[in-house]
Amino acid sequence: MTFINYAAREINCKIVYYGPGLCGKTTNLQYIYDRTNPAAKGKLISLATETDRTLFFDFLPLDLGTVRGFKTRFHLYTVPGQVFYDASRKLILKGVDGVVFVADSQEARLDANVESLQNLEKNLTDHGFDLQVIPYVLQLNKRDLPTALPADELYRQLNFKGEPTFEASAPNGQGVFDTLKAVAKQVLMELRKK
């Protein structure tokens, strides 16, 4: 649900990074935070456990600049990936404008990716959204690991609707901004239709 503020001339959009546990959602946000000009970002908030696993969400507000006289602000959220946090995960999807699915390329995590994707589809439906129509990008993360499956095989298994798909290695930034840009673009394009 985009928030258009005529009084402050701002558009606020919410983007959620989804995916199985330890796939690199928080790392994506961390990289964006580290590489963004301080004037364009707010604080990166992580509600995490003592062992640095996301407990509720990470949050990063980002100013992208002005379009048609309106300041565009994106609020990036991650969900907790671990299966048993489903109730929290569902809460974060509320009012979402665009979703990034971060897949873990390692062979051993294929089932976890598939399960998480199905979980995303279900949780979106419960909020009245449809993965077929919502702005959506797939990121194949951890491409640098030797155990990574070939990208085309992952694409076949995980690509849902022909969405833009990026190969990434989040700790060194490969594919991170391309992913963000692709989802932000779709979200802004949606505004045009409304």
């Binding site: 908030i45 949050f59 505004l191 045009r192």
Partner: protein, 164 residues
Amino acid sequence: MSDFILFDEEFHQIKDVIGRLKADAQAKVVFIVDKNGQQIAAQGDMESLDTTSLASLTAGNVAATDGLARLIGEKEFPVLFHEGERDNVYISIVGQRVILVVIFDERSSLGLVRLRVRKANGELERIFDTIQKKVESEKTRRQEGYDSPFAEITDEDIDSLFRE
């Protein structure tokens, strides 16, 4: 799901109501957030506060508490109160749509805040009803051929946002 649109007129009305609430309740800060974590309006000394983070955490807090409520068979918990050593936070839900947050210290009291919030809640509910109606009539107008200000966004506009 329809977007939330805030127009100038209602924005000023909201600012007025929460400004009065701040004075009447002798609060430090009063602000309004939508349930998705976007800040709508604020009054008070915001300089020392990271309002964007506050807004998002408040919404997360309310969402988690709503989830708890449903688990035990309640519709929602319309009021949350956090008591600190110096400052306290009083959170209440306005018309099931937006969240009103009052931060206060020992110059005020929970009783006073509760009383003043109740009064402001009614006024705010009316304003948000008006906004809802406006958004709906705006939508109908657009379907009848009026363009939204964003109908003209071009690919180039969007690309320019990402230029280094």
